[in-house]
Subunit: 348 residues, 2 copies
């Protein structure tokens, strides 16, 4: 077996769609989840790509996820809606919630939609991007159930999730796409450091006593990740994380993020039609002026280029559409197992 496989986007998309169809998901639903996962691979976010298929299948076996559920609109006005996910695929529920928010903003200028009780919705930025690619400004506060990672500022016990937030702004080219967790480092990277025996820099982790530590294993022994801003300015990340908790998890009716609950997501989505506030071409012209000013800044030694948020992903997409997507042997094997279990042809 090869150490690494290179798989084409279309092949992953086809295989993934077949897997979700085999789990009982509708053709449209299977396509939406699969496009989301495969695009994450193209953008280089492999932790949110095809590697999730086996985990998602497992979730359907323990009632974290219902592969055939259809989200339900509980409340609706001209500008707002409340959606109950019924543990459907988060990508499908959030895609549909965002489509609703876009339609409302198209008619009424602005909108706000909440979504609760869906399974893992993947990359929050996918949904703001969805709106921005149609010309809308979007903000997404993503509530997370099932795993606390951040201590409140001054505390020593993890009591908030990584609580991601995303903002996308349409431009003449690809959207400016801001997508960040409100903690100092994603948990996945800390896990990698632990598994490889590496030390972390100071300013990322607290141990179980709330003391700064460089040992990634301390996270899994009662420690916590520092909020964005780290040792000096972590009160800012704590504040943002709490905003995501209150708007993404609580206002949505999803409930608080701490453990003891099923692992899923909730969201607060806001969409604004910029043309209700400014002429589109005037806005885009002025944005280009800002981008030019960023790109033409003198650079640090060793920095080849100044990027806008989201630009690195766009570059990687172009590259991986050519070269294919690298998949390690372990993930490849797990996908093969899932294909067997589901009775799907393993043709990637």
């Amino acid at each position: 077996m090869a150490d690494k496989h290179l798989i084409q986007y279309d092949d992953i998309l086809r295989f993934s769609t077949a897997c979700f169809q085999a789990m009982g998901t509708s053709d449209e639903g299977a396509r939406i989840v699969s496009e989301h996962l495969s695009l994450n691979n193209l953008y280089g976010h492999d932790s949110h790509g095809m590697i999730r298929i086996p985990q998602y299948y497992d979730a359907t076996q323990v009632e974290f996820c219902n592969a055939t559920a259809v989200p339900e609109i509980l409340r609706e006005s001209d500008t707002t809606a409340v959606i109950e996910g019924h543990r459907a695929w988060g990508q499908v529920a959030a895609y549909q919630a965002t489509e609703m928010a876009i339609a409302k903003a198209k008619k009424h200028g602005v909108s706000a939609v909440t979504l609760r009780n869906c399974y893992h919705l993947g990359r929050a930025g996918a949904f703001t991007q969805q709106a921005a690619q149609e010309g809308f400004i979007a903000q997404f506060y993503c509530g997370c159930f099932g795993g606390s990672r951040l201590a409140p500022w001054g505390g020593t016990e993890a009591r908030l999730s990584t609580n991601p937030m995303s903002i996308a702004i349409p431009t003449r080219g690809e959207p400016v796409l801001i997508d960040l967790t409100t903690c100092a480092m994603p948990e996945g990277k800390i896990r990698v450091a632990r598994n490889s025996g590496a030390e972390l820099p100071l300013g990322i982790l607290l141990d179980r006593d709330g003391k700064d530590t460089t040992n990634p294993a301390d996270l899994y022994d009662g420690g916590s990740i520092l909020p964005l801003g780290g040792t000096l300015m972590g009160h800012k990340g704590y504040a943002l994380s709490l905003a995501v908790e209150l708007l993404g998890s609580i206002l949505s009716g999803g409930g608080p993020s701490w453990p003891g609950r099923y692992q899923g997501n909730a969201a607060f989505i806001q969409v604004v039609d910029p043309t209700t506030l400014e002429d589109r071409e005037t806005f885009y012209d002025a944005c280009e002026e800002v981008f030019k000013n960023m790109r033409e800044s003198p650079r640090k030694e060793g920095v080849e280029e100044i990027f806008l948020p989201g630009e690195i992903e766009t570059r990687r997409e172009l590259e991986r559409r050519q070269t294919g997507i690298p998949v390690d042997a372990t993930t490849f094997g797990l996908l093969e197992d899932t294909a067997k279990t589901l009775g799907v042809e393993f043709d990637i």
Copy 2:
């Protein structure tokens, strides 16, 4: 002359109102600016309090500010509005813009209002607080003209303002009030460190070559403040700062933040009526559950209490309403000079 004066809130408010009236501002406008400045003193944000009165007066003398200007509504829909500030007092323009946004959200659930070309609007959190105290969720992206402080991520030259953002969420008690600049440390604190000959920790400043430095003087010699997230995670603060720039400064029609322009503010304000999405008491109950979970977290050594964002300010307000507000002799003297210039009785 005493080293320090203790002044009562009501006295500052009365004196300040008389000053702004003497500059030609309407009674209502003078009251709004003065309440804003005096409340900042109560909250402990003395850098945004009465110390500003002499600076504000100077601004009216060089056309940065027009003390008699009245903001104008350029565009309006059920859910949106665009306001031209005509260099009016920022506090007055932003207060009125927020009142409009609240009225629209009250009727239609959500709203978005932009404001451009006003003079310094003070503390961004004052306006989200204004909406949250009436039961609304508010977000405020504050565009700033006239002084760049942040380099784009990978760059060595300051090309973005400190670009503050604020989110306020109503609760059963005082609002959760998030109010932060998107940089690693406010410029005022760096100035204080320079003046007192203190070193800064690493992770706050870059020198003119984009190298980490602990010398606060480097900021004023072509350096820049790191974005929120510092050396490790500054790409997140850069992304947030750019969002504030594009929404607060550009979408509002205010134009980019870099120098060569007059010193003023612009804003993008969003207001949401939470009751269009969730019953108020259900929302407040679930918020209290989160707050309890934060407050009851085990604490770091030396930490007496876990606070919610905005709580420290509320405590200080109660305290200073009792004790009075401390003012240093230099500021006191400058206020006396301004009173003389304006022909206002110096009775604080």
